[in-house]
């Protein structure tokens, strides 16, 4: 059964002037969701995937396209921890702080990472090389304590191992 739905016309000014190809890809996602306001979170996911973070400019673009009030888009983008409104470092290190990891010493791992990098969790090193973050449980409790290096989940970590990994990375940057 084919269903034809009327689609809201895309307002002219919504096409981003920068000509950046990533906007075309984002546009495709919004089109797939028929520019429905309830697709906001899906669209934000895609936008962050494409651009790395959600700039004010980008949020305005999305608000325009989905015909949502700017404050509503901002409110949603800041409600969910997954969305970042600031650029991230080239590399990432996520220390899981779930209960299983906590009981097996995640706090010491985080402290070691903070000490090695000289930044607190939730921050990026001043040279922009690495963002140190924490997670609320990755569900990999069987191999606790867990750390995610650049998207790769690694289990049974120790403060020393994490320190070595981070040092290698930071040194390489020098």
């Amino acid at each position: 059964m084919a269903v034809t739905r009327s689609q809201p016309p895309v307002p002219e000014q919504a096409l981003h002037p920068s000509g950046d190809n990533r906007f075309k890809l984002l546009e495709a996602t919004m089109k797939k969701h028929q520019y429905r306001p309830d697709a906001l979170i899906e669209v934000l996911h895609r936008a962050q995937e494409l651009f790395g973070y959600l700039s004010t400019d980008l949020l305005f673009y999305i608000a325009n396209s989905l015909r949502l009030p700017p404050s509503r888009v901002y409110g949603v983008a800041t409600f969910y921890h997954f969305f970042s409104l600031a650029p991230k470092g080239e590399h990432s290190c996520v220390v899981c702080l779930g209960t299983a990891c906590y009981v097996r010493g995640a706090a010491a791992i985080l402290a070691a990472a903070e000490q090695t990098l000289g930044v607190k969790a939730g921050h990026t090193t001043p040279d922009g090389r690495l963002s140190l973050e924490t997670a609320r449980c990755l569900g990999a409790c069987g191999i606790a304590p867990t750390v995610v290096f650049d998207g790769t989940v690694t289990g049974h970590q120790t403060p020393e191992q994490v320190q070595v990994w981070l040092e290698r990375l930071v040194k390489r940057g020098e």
Binding site: T56, L59, F60, A63, P69, P70, S71, R72, V73, Y74, G75, T78, F79
Partner: protein, 235 residues
């Protein structure tokens, strides 16, 4: 419309079908404290001050969103409720910097009134003393986050009555803040029509009219309900 009879604090009361406990209580002059509730906009049951005990229910229920049920037995003023309400008010005072002495709403503030109503002579919790901003970029109005209780009355009145949704809440938990547009300075928020309904709606000194003296901060909250009634009935 069918009538409902029920009991509040041993007093037999009649209510219209679909009426909430709060509406029925107010019509009969029974005081139930509220903060996030505002006539004319939707009720959200968030401040938890209007919680009441209902016989047969294990949970406390917010009077602002709980419809009256025939023969329901409600208590609004038990020892437990009084203690909880006072703690809620104390938590609010401890959460931000509510300094009545230097507040534009001193004497015309619902939070201050509630503190008196619940008998709060001091706050037993430690104050958080957070650092909060004041935004006076708008030519007519200002917002002082030190005084904000996150009741979202501004958000709802802007969305539901003025229909522009300039306000919303950003962040979450203790870090939540009401914002205008993309958390821009209010004066740069292009959606704002400067209608001033949020000023009317604000229960505290958070949203104020600039240049107004303390004595001028008395706000006619009925105006919101009046506007809504006027619109719905198309006078």
């Amino acid at each position: 419309m069918a009538a409902r009879t029920f009991t509040i604090n041993d007093q037999l009361i009649s209510a219209r079908e679909g009426e909430t406990i709060l509406q029925a209580a107010r019509e009969h002059g029974i005081f139930i404290p509220t903060l996030c509730y505002l006539d004319g906009v939707s009720a959200v049951g968030a401040c938890r001050l209007c919680l009441v005990e209902i016989e047969g229910s294990r949970m406390l229920r917010p009077a602002c969103v709980t419809p009256v049920v025939e023969e329901m037995v409600v208590r609004t003023d038990t020892e437990r409720l009084r203690e909880y309400r006072r703690m809620i008010i104390e938590l609010l005072f401890a959460e931000r910097n509510h300094i009545c002495a230097v507040c534009v709403a001193n004497g015309h503030c619902e939070l201050q009134d509630l503190a008196i109503a619940v008998g709060m002579d001091h706050v037993r919790f430690d104050y958080a003393f957070p650092r909060c901003d004041v935004d006076i970029s708008h030519p007519l109005f200002g917002i002082d986050h030190n005084r904000c209780v996150l009741c979202t009355r501004c958000v709802r009145v802007c969305d539901e009555v003025e229909g522009v949704h300039t306000w919303d809440v950003a962040g979450r938990g203790a870090d939540a803040r009401v914002i205008t547009d993309m958390r821009q300075p209010w004066g740069e928020a292009r959606t704002c029509t400067s209608c001033g309904k949020c000023v009317l709606a604000c229960p505290t000194g958070a949203i104020f009219r600039r240049g107004a003296t303390v004595g001028e901060m008395e706000r006619d909250r009925n105006k919101i309900a009046y506007i809504v009634a006027a619109r719905e009935q198309r006078w």
